[in-house]
């Protein structure tokens, strides 16, 4: 074997200091790490390594224009994300990235833009929203639809409130269930789609959330008249190496870590609906 051509070097993480940990919900936190995102584009992810525990693929969730820090929003669901969620400022963490594809912001310019985020799926969309707001004039109407399980499980609540107050963004928030003190909408996020005030044929849509939610969002968007080629989703699979080498994240012929995570909906539509249980 030829050691010089060994892709193993690509697995080595750099060490980064944790600057801040902000609690988003009961099980989700946003971690700020020192050092920039190495020019990441919104939609990409990094491999975050908890020493001695393991690695997890985590989307960038912060401002793509910040060169001094990166942010990752992590939901505690396993050993690695649990260890990341338990970090305190001053701790260190392993990091390598950026990996994968980004949202088609360039392609969306000059048209209407619809962003649909469900649950933790809002995290990979946040850098796209921040990029759009930094260059708001490049887009026509911009609508952001946010769904969550309950009001307390909404991410970035302060920022959501700021976005909702703006006159150049249509921001709608809905939850699946709420107590009577909730003043927003109740219902699934897909039901907000028929009410969008956009020109469908000139609309690009970026959708991220659970697969079922993405599938129904795509259906509603197409029913509204948005061409399927203008629909983009972020597919989540078990990304372990991030360089299309380990095989874990395959979805049909697609290596989700490499050809995704952001893919045209047409690329995965047939694969997302296969019974796997």
């Amino acid at each position: 074997m030829d050691p010089a051509r060994d892709p193993i070097r690509l697995f080595a993480p750099e060490t980064r200091e944790v600057l801040a940990v902000r609690k988003e919900t009961a099980d989700t936190a946003t971690v700020t790490l020192a050092g920039g995102g190495r020019g990441f584009v919104p939609g990409q992810f990094a491999m975050v390594y908890a020493f001695g525990v393991g690695e997890s693929a985590i989307s960038f969730s912060g401002d793509p224009y910040r060169a001094d820090i990166v942010e990752h929003t992590v939901r505690r669901v396993g050993a690695v994300t649990g260890a990341i969620g338990a970090l305190r400022p001053g701790d260190h963490i392993g990091w390598r990235g950026p990996f994968g594809t980004g949202w088609p912001l360039q392609r969306a310019r000059g048209g209407d833009l619809v962003i649909v985020g469900g649950g933790i799926g809002l995290a990979p969309l946040r850098p796209a929203i921040l990029a759009v707001m930094a260059d708001r004039g490049a887009y026509r109407r911009v609508a952001i639809l946010v769904g969550a399980r309950r009001p307390g499980e909404l991410l970035y609540q302060e920022q959501l409130a700021e976005w909702r107050a703006r006159f150049d963004l249509d921001v709608e928030v809905t939850v699946d269930a709420a107590a009577n003190n909730w003043r927003g909408s109740v219902g699934v996020v897909t039901r907000l789609i028929p009410h969008l005030d956009v020109e469908p044929t000139r609309t690009t849509a970026m959708v991220c959330g659970p697969e079922v939610m993405m599938r129904f969002s795509a259906m509603e968007l197409q029913r509204l008249g948005v061409p399927s080629r203008n629909l983009f989703v972020s597919v989540e699979r078990n990304m372990k190496c991030a360089i299309a080498l380990c095989g874990h994240c395959q979805l049909g012929s697609l290596f989700a870590c490499h050809e995704g995570a952001v893919v045209p909906y047409d690329r995965v539509a047939g694969l997302m609906e296969v019974r796997e249980a």
Binding site: V77, I120, R149, D176, S185, V186, G187, V188, L192, M213
Partner: protein, 152 residues
Amino acid sequence: MSENKLRNHRCARDLDSSSLTIMESCSLGEVSWKKGDWILTTDDLATRCYLLTSGDVQIETTPPGRKETLLQTIHGGDVLGWSWLIPPYRWAFDARAASDVTAVALDAAKLREAADADPRFGYALTKKMFFLVADRLQATRLQLMDLYGPRA
């Protein structure tokens, strides 16, 4: 004015002209509610069908001994109420204006009569209501799936 609102409503947009004319003949004109007003309440006779033109409406219920439960929010462009089509024509839930709301009200009895008299209109109307129910059912199923919850 209300005729235009009816014609432009999502629900009426692709109706043929004779069906549209019949629907207009069932119109009771524009109605509006202030935020917080009750629009309809459980078990009352369902005498009207509302084509919401603006604002948000909260569909909710308050089971005995429990706090009110928010079920679903519907918006301008949606249709409020289908109990008027199904005997015994009584509302199954409560609806309250979650913001200032405007709507075109249709006379339910007239709609039913017209549908019986003209099956062509009846089919068009039933299809509209079927889409509406299917849409709500699908949304309810997605809600039931607890998509964002921890995986079982």
